[in-house]
């Protein structure tokens, strides 16, 4: 089957006609619902949660979320798809937004995020002033900040080839996620790839929220665990931005704060040397 993302940008491809066709096809409805159920079982949310639906489209995946008592907020780039969703009176809140431009939410907003057949669109740069890697990293950085600590995201996508798969996974890892790829029906035509992401689970090794535990015991799991354990080396350099200096520490704390991490308050002791007692 041809790949729609090779023909047109998503906002143009999903016009009124395509959106209607997509939403009313019973085959697509069945597949989407099955994948959403699979994603929800991977998330294993214990209580009614606030969920972000990335590329919510006409709200096919949102229906499953509503049925499991979750409140969802959806983002999609296609106005036609959202119009179909309005006609179908879905219960979630929706936005017209480009996920490649970031995720416009406060740090720590969502319990979880879900995405069904959307993020492969990020691998295409449709104008000369953006790059696919830039769009991917903006998306994953935004998503990382918008999820609460201990939050999870399950993103189902259709990678075109190994290159795309690696590009998406490494962008997620670079943003700080613990990432795992889960494949259903590997090696067949119906292969479904799920990117399972966790936030802030690196501290407690083997903690319940670690991504490797999410998928433990499942078949066909390929875990890529490259979380950084403190960066060695880096820019040695000199001047005021030197690594380990007060300016450097303050800058790093600011960066962490913007990404939604828990950061100690600044004081006059920040970055001071610990002198020997005598």
């Amino acid at each position: 089957m041809s790949r729609p993302e090779d023909t047109l940008p998503p906002d143009l491809f999903y016009n009124d006609h395509e959106s209607q066709k997509y939403t009313t096809s019973s085959r697509i409805q069945t597949i989407q619902t099955a994948m959403t159920q699979r994603a929800l079982s991977l998330l294993a949310l214990p209580y009614p949660s606030l969920v972000l639906d990335i590329g919510c489209g006409s709200g096919l995946s949102g229906e499953s979320l509503t049925a499991s008592d979750h409140t969802w907020i959806g983002m999609d780039i296609s106005a036609s798809m959202l119009a179909v969703a309005l006609d179908r009176e879905t219960s979630g809140d929706m936005f017209l937004a480009d996920i490649g431009q970031g995720v416009p939410f406060r740090p720590g907003t969502f319990d979880a995020a879900i995405s069904i057949s959307a993020i492969q669109w990020l691998c295409n740069a449709d104008s000369s002033d953006v790059s696919a890697t830039g769009r991917l990293s903006r998306f994953f950085e935004g998503l990382y900040a918008a999820l609460k600590r201990g939050g999870k995201a399950v993103l189902q996508f259709y990678p075109k080839n190994e290159v795309q798969r690696g590009m998406i996974t490494s962008a997620a890892i670079r943003a700080g996620f613990g990432a795992g790829l889960l494949e259903d029906d590997p090696g067949t035509k119906n292969v479904k790839v799920y990117l399972v992401l966790t936030v802030g689970a690196g501290a407690e090794k083997g903690g319940a929220s670690d991504v490797t535990n999410v998928v433990r015991g499942m078949e066909g799991v390929d875990v890529i665990d490259e979380r950084r354990k403190g960066r060695g080396g880096g820019r040695g350099g000199d001047g005021e931005g030197r690594k380990g200096s007060k300016d450097w520490i303050l800058r790093k704390k600011e960066q962490g704060k913007n990404r939604g991490k828990v950061v100690k308050a600044d004081s006059k002791y920040t970055g001071r040397k610990r002198r020997p007692a005598f």
């Binding site: 008592d69 809140d93 936005f95 017209l96 431009q101 939410f105």
Partner: protein
Amino acid sequence: MKILTTNFLTCALRACKSHPNSFPLRFRDAELQQDSSPFNAAFISNILPRIDWSALLTTAAELGFTNLPVEKPAVVDEKVGMELHRILIETHVVEGKLVCGNCGHQYAIHQGTANFLLPGHLGISPTPFVWRTGVADIYA
């Protein structure tokens, strides 16, 4: 758009995210609609710790809801829970604009769906030089 969502939304411009004026986004010419949905106490108590209470008070006052407690309640009882449910979940803004207090960018809301698409040069610009001179003047 639910008031719940407004309490978590920030300006889509990267440079605005860290600025105190940019949150919460202010409603302008808002047209409200009430619907009814089943009260979900577990969800309200799950979401309460993450709600920015002062921002909620600001938004609620702008839209004409004044019977919220001044301090964030520690536990959700029936009365406060129902009030929160009515404001956060059942109140929708169907038409109007959301305005960022820092850059002045206006996000239009139409049929309950907000448009957060940024024009290309704002979306990717890593250096904040355009918005300082006032995006509002350009996109007025």
